[in-house]
Symmetry: D2
Subunit: 417 residues, 4 copies
């Protein structure tokens, strides 16, 4: 069977294809050479499945879509405290060329240019040369995308020539001692970051990595700390779509970031990374057809951060079986608070008749510390209540997890089916 999902994506593209409104921005000469008809869409699940449709192999410069990834890299490079000290977390409610800082003298967030130039400077340390910093960024983006990405140096050069807004920002940031590089270098470094060439497929995978708690959905490589990925998505959600953040959150409900080359990326935490391309922009600087495609994705596919009918923890407990003298509690999937709650609820609410209660974690995919702690506490209480306990935990999720009384849960290697 051919998977119909690419066809669904194609249908979405078809439904927005005829909208020829909007304009390609002319202030960056290289951008003006984009084909206004380009139209592409890609989607990468956290389980690593990548789907795409339309112009999914067209390379274009990443522009502002680089901001969340550079933000994550800056935190990895300079530490979370340094980054949060330098750049705020509040939505700006302002247009993308706004020059002002927040009342506390910092760029209000990392998704506007003032914040993004500051973030760029935090990568590879204050003494880094421009070339080293840009190479570090290019390499990181490449690992996120899963292939070697290149910088469009010609585009960077042409953008630099008309970079008065960014130079204005950089001089302002210097005047407040927020950055120390020369304005020219700071803008050059930022513009080259923006000139990395990507496809919608690259972007969907990159966004999927953020959705997957920082783990690359295809290679399984850990590229972003889970807390950093979480913070990055929070900032995208509150500040990524410029001056219509509230409406976007209500209408589309997918944390997103748009860029001047016509790209939009979105993420649904734990589910998906998404990317669209269509170069004509609306008055807010967002891709006209890209916005519409996201609206369709949200509407038709029910992709919305606030959807209440998703997975709850209740599917964690696959079954409770009695085998020999054991009551075997079989868990599956990731074990977070909700999942552990469901397990505890099942255990505490049912009569477990076996002499021994065995927790079968063989089918568990990920764990969060709290989920493991909760399971451990449940086992401890069972034992306190006079039951023998054990686990079947071939991947060792409970291995380092002493119970509150300092003992470990004995593990059972083989469980009869």
């Amino acid at each position: 069977m051919e998977n119909p999902i690419p066809d669904y994506l194609g249908d979405i593209l078809d439904s927005v294809r005829d909208d020829s409104s909007g304009e390609i921005p002319t202030y960056i000469p290289e951008l003006a050479q984009a084909d206004p008809e380009w139209l592409g869409l890609a989607l990468c699940t956290t389980s690593g499945h990548l789907y795409s449709a339309g112009d999914d192999d067209v390379e274009f410069t990443i522009q502002s879509l680089s901001k969340p990834f550079a933000y994550a890299l800056a935190i990895e490079s300079a530490g979370m405290d340094a980054v949060v000290d330098a750049v705020g977390l509040e939505p700006s409610g302002e247009a993308f060329n706004e020059l002002s800082l927040g009342e506390d003298g910092r760029p209000v967030n990392a998704m506007i240019n003032a914040g993004a130039i500051t973030v760029n400077q935090l990568i590879n340390g204050p003494d880094s040369g421009v070339d080293e910093r840009v190479e570090m960024i290019r390499d990181y983006f490449s690992r996120l995308a899963g292939r070697e990405l290149e910088i469009d140096e010609k585009s960077a050069e042409s953008e630099l020539a008309g970079a008065d807004r960014n130079l204005s920002l950089a001089h302002m940031l210097r005047s407040y001692d927020i950055i120390t590089d020369s304005a020219q270098d700071a803008v050059l470094s930022y513009i080259r970051q923006c000139s990395v060439k990507v496809t919608v497929k690259d972007l969907a995978v990159m966004a999927g990595t953020l959705a997957n708690g920082g783990v690359h959905p295809r290679s399984g490589e850990k590229l972003v700390d889970a807390r950093v990925a979480r913070l990055t998505l929070s900032v995208m959600n509150s500040s990524g779509m410029y001056d219509a953040a509230g409406r976007w959150q209500a209408r589309v409900g997918i944390p997103a970031k748009s860029g001047v080359s016509g790209g939009i990326i979105g993420t649904l935490p734990s589910q998906l990374g998404i990317a669209a391309l269509s170069p004509r922009l609306d008055g807010s600087g967002n891709s006209v057809r890209g916005v519409k495609a996201f609206e369709e994705l949200s509407d038709q596919m029910g992709l919305h951060l606030m959807n209440g009918v998703g997975m709850s923890g209740s599917e964690t407990v696959r079954t409770i079986e009695h085998r020999g003298g054991d009551s075997v509690v079989v868990l599956q999937g990731p074990v977070d608070f909700s999942a552990a709650e469901a397990a505890l609820h099942a255990i505490s609410g049912r009569k477990l008749t076996g002499e021994r209660v065995v927790l079968d974690l063989e089918r568990v995919t990920h764990t969060q510390p709290m989920g493991i702690a909760m399971l451990g506490e449940g086992l401890r209480r069972l034992r306190e209540g006079g039951r023998e306990i054990a686990s079947h935990d071939p991947r060792g999720f409970l291995l380092d997890n002493e119970l509150d009384d300092g003992t470990l849960v004995p593990d059972v290697m083989d469980l009869d089916a």
Copy 2:
């Protein structure tokens, strides 16, 4: 075994108990009589499990925590268009007593008082008397809580006497023709809405209903349209925590609303409703210990909207079994886009050797239309590829779902285990 979750909640309360900073507001005489030491916490899962700790039976007036629920009721009562036309969707970034309207002449969102007074007026139509409107609200809140709630009329009366800010807002709204009731009536109606008496347990259940797509997690009654619940949560997320919306989203990551009586409610869509009570407020008008308790919940329990390690769709496919000549694909849990994607991916990626492919939906709990459509399309393509298809669908999820070619999927009543 005694479920340890109430103990966890108690631990969180203990960790914040000693913070005696903040003040009980004095401008509402009845509020000043709250016991500053009250401290309670409750949590309701979307599967209906309710846990609580501390002062979980103390009744207090709901105050601004009424705003999201009244917003949902107004949409049910007046229609989404009328409500979205009257009140904006953008975060205010402003203090809770701010008088100004947005540039478009509307209250900027429904979580500030100007918006909430406007929303209140949309309930039960413009010609409704105050008593009828308030009774409609009290009744709706009671159904959300699952018990009959009462209005603290004495508190309402005392609040009305010092209601200059709200009267100022109501006169302003009248001057812009946004409301038509007399200012006195509009404020009376709003203040009585704010005077419904609740406990943290009530609030956790009410919030849990929003988290559960509008379905009451304990009774299963459908109280809020799923789209309305989603919109309500979006607005809470972008605007519920006054002037620190961005930091709250990044730090806590739980869509929330706070109130002047010291309550805070939070929701994690598809997972939980949460409520805390502690009457002393910080300078922003939020409960000091309530905020801390939410920070702990987020930190310790990993409850954060942007967490990437949650349930993805990959747990949907329980197994693919071969029984007789059938390949039986067993799905479980809710079937949304992600779940259906996982199923399609499994089907299209594997060699199904049986003559007939049977989709077993017996363990499916909820469905979204897109998820069902995707499964249907997968079956259609299998048949197109020469396979016989069938479903085992005792709850009838596929019943109304014609395939693209107008046929229905034949159902198999009994499947051999």
Copy 3:
């Protein structure tokens, strides 16, 4: 000879008469009954000459033109400190219905409604009844106009019925403890202040009193302290014309205040009070033809605060004559710093050949303390230099003015012409 000035005023009215743009505001029913064709202009010099043209006997409600006069009365009534503490001095740059206070929590100035309601409350003390306060205002305005003015109680009543904006302001001011009267009383008191009936001739005389340092230009009665008049004009200049203060100052250059009934008053300190009436208003709430008339007055008649070719002090010294053994220095007009400087310059720069130097102050009209002190110091130095000194000072300007050495200047009753 018939004075041509009324004809000049008539010419100005003719030049703006045909502009029928603008609208009579409808939110105050009584205002809507004004004749849109009314067109009047009056001008009162500080020497008391009153000229007028057009509908100069039409009575209309004073509305916001009452603000500067009530401001002056509030300072007389409550003291300058109390008034300046309660209401700021900064231009608002905002529309006339703006609800917000300044960052310091006070109304930004006394020319916007929030400030004017606050100012009204400062008249006759916080315990004053509305009737007593309003009578005090009516009486004061009558003395400024030089005739008994009446309140249009019917207009006040009709305005009160639709006074949501002002009621909103009053409730807000109460919520900040800026006023203590009930909102209803505060607005009633303010609206009745606004309902005093005046003509453009009344207003020109009232404005002329402010221009004349608080001395009624016709009766000579001292009605406003000079410092209060000065402060009032400063506030009119920076804040009187709503959101176009800078352009008005540059283009027209006459400190002014406009009102919703179509009146505009202006003053040129030491020179003139001006008033215009034409009921149709522009989008900023200013009388369309009134604004044009002021532009013409400024352009054609050279009436502009920043005009450099006006009276300097150099005309003070009428002559220096030698009579008998005296050198008689004849001064004329008002003696302020500039005038005294001119006198001192003349005395110190010339060879005074007489044995005695006599300062003839018979033609001096007003004095400021510094001007008198400077003249005294000049005389003292002349005596120190060996000259005999005396004054001819029938009005006693020097009477209380001891020289620095404690002596008085001997006075000469008769001077030979």
Copy 4:
């Protein structure tokens, strides 16, 4: 007799001398070398008398005090329309380093840096080299001061090195197509304008020229068009003192401009130019002791724009005498609207018994067109009423002034005393 006015100025300096609060700014290295104890004051009357005290010969860089004079020069150079189109007229209410433009996309006024850089670019045309432009400015400032001024090129150089704020502004202005020079050139040109070296005596004379309607008070040379001087003073008044414009206007009442080198200039139209120097600045960037000295000048000397006890027109009519068959009306001083009004009032109100009415203009010092037109109209009406008319007008004020009926007033060469 020694003129006591320098002593008065010295007294003012003494009264503020001991205030050692405030700081010398360090961001411009050359400024940091100023002696913090410098304290100087100078005053120049429109009649050309120059008084000074303290460090009145210390040269310092003019900095922002250059803004009003460059504004006047830009209008002379590019025309009023071009300048008013490029830069707004509204007070900013904002600090001196504010980066934002007004809502119309223009710098809000010419007294903030964004406006001043724009104004500088309008001098000598868009194609002017920096050197030519700066020389034009230096030459103009020299003529205003009445001596050759020099540029402190070393200071300019040191300022350029730390000019991030101004470079930020220049890039922003370029990005909005408000200026076309390179950012580097625009800032260099502006900084060199700011580096002209002046003393308080120079500045008092320069400000005196603006006060005198553009006529140099000492040389009598016409350097600024009267309308341009008027506009420049209006802008200084509404926007010269940064964020306290309203309080300054109320408290001091002298249109003023302050600069970072510790200077403040002030003007009272038709009366005075004033300049103070004291390098330590307050938090708003204004000279601490300079501000105090201006407050003293306003308080003690009664120098306030809104003072009502100044010269009114009533001193114009020196006398009406009967000589031979003539009624001779002797006028003196400048003849503006107010003066002409006084003359017309005198003529029309009195019984002139002579056969002929002669207007004696020998003592008139200046005239405004409206004043002359009014006198002419008065004469015409007298003749129309049957009187013979004539003038004694040795300076020819009436020469080009045809009466409304096309005739000229016959002139009488000699008048018997």
